[in-house]
Subunit: 281 residues, 2 copies
Amino acid sequence: MTTQLAGFFLLLLTTFCTNAQQEWRIPASENLIYLELETGTVVIELAPFIAPKHVARFKNLVAEGFYDSLDFYRVIDGFVAQAGDVSEKKPSKNKAPLNAEFSRPTPSISDFMLVQSPDFIAPQTGYLNGFAAGRDPNAKQEWLLHCPGAVAFARDVDANSASTEFYIVIGQATRHLDRNMSTIGRVIYGMPAVQALNRANMNNASGVIENPTKRGKILWAKLAKDISQQNQLKIQIQEQNSAQVTQRLASARKLDNEFFHFKGNGNLDVCYYQLKTRLDK
Amino acid sequence: MTTQLAGFFLLLLTTFCTNAQQEWRIPASENLIYLELETGTVVIELAPFIAPKHVARFKNLVAEGFYDSLDFYRVIDGFVAQAGDVSEKKPSKNKAPLNAEFSRPTPSISDFMLVQSPDFIAPQTGYLNGFAAGRDPNAKQEWLLHCPGAVAFARDVDANSASTEFYIVIGQATRHLDRNMSTIGRVIYGMPAVQALNRANMNNASGVIENPTKRGKILWAKLAKDISQQNQLKIQIQEQNSAQVTQRLASARKLDNEFFHFKGNGNLDVCYYQLKTRLDK
């Protein structure tokens, strides 16, 4: 093979392997929420396919400015940061209790990509439209997992009681909440800003920060469409079916790197292997 | 039964159930390290029973002031915060490479308390002297898990190359590092201070924070014995065999609370159910 021809094939290979369209996706603008905290900017990607009514509620509340100047008033280190109106007096037309959306029936065509079966807690875990997800092939149900960064609506004991409050998982995955809470998406940018939120005193089991001045504030929340183009972050997310993700998982199953002397058992925790995000330069 | 007699039994019951000696332990002072960060105070409980040489090395380095004014220079959100001398030029007599202490042979009398068998990654998981631990009954080995808050020595590819650098797990448990790293203990106080550390840019895979002024600094590190009694925190840790822990695990297996509509499968992630800590008033 001539050097010229080799060069051509190298170029072809490089083009194929670095095709951003295949390896990374740009999340749909209508599914993005910006939260501006005192500790930094947080961006949430919504998952309307799993909890359409809760997602619509969240977008309506954001659009009307409901969360502006409210606090993360219940923050338990290693568990969740919960935000909303602790007084329950802030007016809104979007407060009526919602019916639970804990999971959805598996559709005839699902984007679910299997990572682990059986998973520790779920029959199957993997990715669903870019989110860490669980699946039960017998019950024919799919749901999103409570991995770090997951965003869900809080509720009372009644399954159908979510109204306006939401939380973000900030510690080890709270998998006992899977299929028990309506999960609306996940943080794709700014987890350090969430992790920097003030916590409740460690002896305080309720997690409610009693002194309002010590609570991390939401300066404002906005739909991406209400933010000027130049102020939007150019966030990209790994495509779940991309070569880099497939390679990462294959490598993780075998720990096929000389750094690892113990090679594991091949099982993967999808909450550790969530799809990565990056900023386009 | 007379009211008086009932009162006596109630007193007896109360005394039994609130016996602090049985439910909470005070960690041994010689196993405690204080790290004073700009973001707050962090206390580590050491586990000399699993990695005696690495624990002795860490104590020697702390005692000589090696870590004072060094940085958490490699911080990857959701993974680890790593500290040490990035220049590798700071002098010390305690830098010679250490032989790996990834696990220990199960002794004839072990304090291991089983929580989950099989675990997702390990044959067994549970508590060992108050730390989340794994166990292989066939290989007769025990080790500490890389749960959030775990502290371990960094190393190069060579298993026997740890020297002075250490890291703290700050995200979902990095279980692929179990039995691959010498784990010296865990953070029992101040994880919010660790979580508030500045991270590397999300596009930076190495995790090294290039600008030294942006790195979280260790103001000082001290052995508890070198801190005056009135400046020591009165930290208590749940006894692994206590009634409250047994009850918590039993309840978690069944999700026997009306809040939970889906009752799980009975499996537990011991990294979520780590033993709690509190401050004595």
